[in-house]
Symmetry: C2
Subunit: 554 residues, 2 copies
């Protein structure tokens, strides 16, 4: 078939990982990008602040990029935009109002212009090059989330975004099932769908169930109530405020991102709060504890968050008091379990009562479980399916669900970032691979910390470093001063003087050996020193510090 | 009351943490120590291999230590013994046969003599100084676990050890409820009990339920079966072997600790295996895949374990094959979730089917949940209660359980390591504190890595190090050669030459400034260089590498 007859789907992030979601859709000379998220660093990415997708492919085809369209305002969908927009200038970015409101803040922090942000709403349909792009309201753990469909000459592509099927959403705005059904009737070529909860059976509970749990917990609380949740979950915040109003409590908000999001949500009309309910944090002492609810960041035990600082008696404005009821309205993201446990322990030590267990009902997920995924597949009835937004086992389980429903195995693609999936009206295949991967951001540096630097940081973190300084006569290649040995992160020097003295002896022996063998090349001398000293230290300590010989020439 | 009328309980480990359990019981001039465990390092203990309790108190009172008695063979109860026994020589160690069998292996690895290990069994009672010490069979996730009672002139102390109440234990050896009841009848002064699962409602499922799940999973598996579990859980291994026999499969064992424990268990009669069922790993290819079960280590995704190496195609003897059924018969210990997830992903990628979810029933806990704890309290009916073996929230919840059952709040002690709890026949209180805490073991060094070294490793791990070498004239305090700057773990130098050149300039400027102000003290010069360069680098990169100025005098 001629090239113009096929549409290509190229994931640049979000497959085989949870984070940095980014999907390229290409038809001929038109490219549309769905989302540009960041990923939080893995444990072995020492010193790294965040990870963004490698967009080499987009830079190589920059003239074809018609737009970036956003499904919702979570960091793993918009967090890379400040970096992407610096490089792909003049590409319009489409998103719902809350999504763009949150993005606006990010761009400001990064000194990137917010021109080119174009608001859309669910139900809209726009033309982007040869794509007819539409937006379908879905429920998620952030308001104003949409799924996306792209009508192309080859067929229709549906991308679920992050979603769940909440039949009783807090804002009353139910998922647009009718649109999914209509698209399914008309025929969908490819479905890409959220695999996050593909391991979980049944249906995810409605967000509204948390409201009932809040009501009960607030009713029982005798003193002050503190609720920690993800700042982006406006519906959770709404329910906390509703429950506070029911028992006539005032609400104060702390934590930078919580204050930000509540501000944006109030401004854009996503939060409905009666006059006078929200008070400033500085006013809380004007009220009895039993009349106060504090909304805070820190539901993941993040070290700098308001809740963690309060738990460690380190917050300037709020102290935990015995009798406080603290509700941690979240479950730990994998990797954060110990941080959350530590915060919970500190809160208990301060005399608070803490509600945090999964079974308590103070949190529900924002992602569809297996039966909702089946419902989506049954509505959409795609010809081809690409599970997205998951680690390998999530994609695998989601693929199995699709297969069990009736999709032939060869029409299901468990892809990798960078795969080019090409689809005709009746045919689909992974045809090639483009550059894709991780770009590490550390401080102001983007992409300058790679494997070598990380490997060095790893060794330094385990056993520290020994610096061996030798002043050598350039002409005669012999030692003039030293060896001086300075160590950091290796041993407590005051108690290890003997070890250090013997280490110096070893270095001198290595140098003598070099002189004997008439080795004058600095690199070789350093290498010998490194090997000899390394062997000695391992023998004595079973540790392998980095050894850095430095030669000063005189 | 005269001192001889009171008994003291001094926890040296295990309170406010899960790990390094160690409890001192003292009456007059007699000390008995219950357990000597290790703890695995926290994430911020960079480069540390393991953590053991600070036993300063025992060393100060070494002449009073009559014995160390062990509840069971898990690392967090026996892992510190090689270190403790090197310092407390000639102190007998009492334990059940399997416990001592496992300990024997550890002592051998550490070159410590195994003389002084005295086997006991549940039901035994021995005299240790003024203590009458007895051992009560309990169920746990390792065989041959006991609770301990100590009869003193003041009253009886009961320590639960780690336990659950399994009504259908795999080896048929039910907890000795009768002994608990008898002690409760006679009157118990103090109870110390396992708080690990105090957050969980109901009863922990019986170990035997896993056998039924294995039977079903083994029946369904078409090809090879691989079961990963904790090597110390002999009953789990027994059930895997039983299920293998039921479907006429041979069993091979891999992974150093799995091979060790299976060996010890077979030798001591804790495993019952028909002749010819266990084959060597090298023989597995002599059988069709559907006739094989492999028992392996790696249920926590440990990097060097057999399962992880197989998953990453890195094991010399076993490769994962498409069609393999891998059962991860464990749940991730908090902190290990990502490691397990990574291994599961790799196994799926290799084409295995993996059973790992909590809901699958392939693992049950070894610790009592809330209703078992209530049953223990109702049997023992202690006057005083000290929750042990838990982080703060576990101790807090367990204390609440005791209070709800009827123990007065003032008779319940949420203690800390080092607290001296003193009890008379009717009175109990925390009276003082002794030295207690963590000793970090790194390689061969015990206790030589402290806060300063860890803090340095932390900085090195985040932003690396810059070494600035200056050769200075001693007399005139001026620069003779340099500055030479070498960095590791900071930036990729080849792409950052300009930054490094400018850094050298900054150092020169700082030195000029020192000369101008007639600063000749090396320490002050280094300090100025460090500040000036640090400021510059942060400005340019937003990173704070360690800066190490070194002055070579000529």
């Amino acid at each position: 078939m001629a090239k113009a007859q096929k549409v290509q789907i190229i994931p640049l992030g979000g497959l085989g990982e949870i984070g940095k979601n980014m999907t390229v859709i290409r038809y001929g000379d038109d490219i549309v990008v769905i989302d540009s998220g960041l990923m939080f660093p893995e444990d072995d990415m020492l010193g790294i602040d965040l990870v963004i997708p490698d967009i080499t492919y987009l830079l190589e085809n920059r003239d074809l990029v018609r737009a970036i369209i956003l499904t919702h305002g979570h960091e793993d969908h918009i967090g890379a935009l400040p970096y992407v927009m610096k490089q792909l200038t003049n590409v319009p970015v489409y998103g719902t109002r809350l999504t763009l409101g949150i993005l606006n803040g990010r761009l400001k922090e990064n000194g990137v212009s917010a021109n080119g942000l174009i608001p859309i709403k669910s139900g809209d349909q726009i033309q982007l090059g040869s794509f007819q792009v539409g937006f379908i309201r879905v429920s998620h753990s952030i308001a104003d989330a949409v799924a996306i469909y792209l009508k192309t000459p080859v067929g229709t592509i549906v991308h679920s975004g992050d979603f769940k099927f909440d039949q009783t959403p807090v804002d009353g705005k139910v998922t647009d099932f009718h649109k999914f059904a209509e698209l399914g009737d008309q025929g969908v070529l490819v479905l890409l769908a959220d695999s996050t909860n593909a391991e979980r059976s049944g249906f995810t509970l409605s967000e509204r169930t948390v409201g009932a749990v809040f009501d009960e917990a607030f009713r029982k609380a005798k003193e002050r109530i503190i609720v920690a949740s993800f700042s982006s979950n406006v519906h959770r915040i709404q329910q906390a405020i509703d429950s506070a109003c029911k028992c006539k409590r005032k609400v104060a908000v702390i934590g930078r991102s919580m204050i930000n999001v509540v501000g944006i949500a109030l401004e854009l009309g996503y939060l409905d709060v009666p006059e006078g309910v929200i008070i400033d944090i500085d006013e809380i002492n004007n009220y009895p504890p039993s009349s106060i609810v504090i909304l805070t960041t820190g539901s993941q035990g993040e070290p700098m968050s308001a809740l963690t600082r309060m738990a460690m008696s380190d917050h300037k404005k709020v102290e935990i008091m015995p009798g406080d009821t603290v509700i941690i309205s979240a479950t730990p993201i994998p990797g954060n379990e110990k941080m959350v446990a530590r915060t919970v322990d500190y809160l208990f030590r301060q005399g608070a009562d803490v509600i945090y267990e999964k079974s308590s009902g103070v949190h529900v997920s924002g992602h569809a479980s297996q039966d909702e995924l089946r419902l989506l597949h049954n509505l959409i009835r795609p010809k081809f399916f690409i599970p997205v937004h998951g680690e390998y086992r999530h994609l695998k389980k989601h693929a199995k669900i699709a297969q069990e429903i009736g999709l032939p195995k060869e029409n299901i693609f468990i892809a990798e970032n960078g795969h080019v999936l090409e689809f005709g009206p009746d045919k689909g295949a992974i045809v090639s691979k483009v550059t894709a991967g991780r770009v590490l951001v550390d401080g102001l540096g983007v992409g300058d910390v790679g494997n070598i630097v990380l490997r060095d940081r790893k060794q330094l973190s385990q056993d520290g470093i020994l610096v061996v300084v030798l002043t050598m006569d350039k002409q005669r290649a012999c030692l003039v001063a030293g060896p001086d040995i300075v160590s950091r992160g290796f041993v407590y020097v005051r108690e290890s003087e003997q070890l250090m003295d013997e280490a110096k002896e070893r270095v001198k022996q290595a140098l003598d050996k070099c002189e004997l063998n008439q080795i004058t090349e600095w690199a070789t001398i350093k290498s010998n020193v490194r090997d000899s000293l390394g062997k000695y230290l391992y023998e004595k300590t079973r540790r392998r510090p980095m050894i850095l010989p430095i030669i000063m020439e005189v």
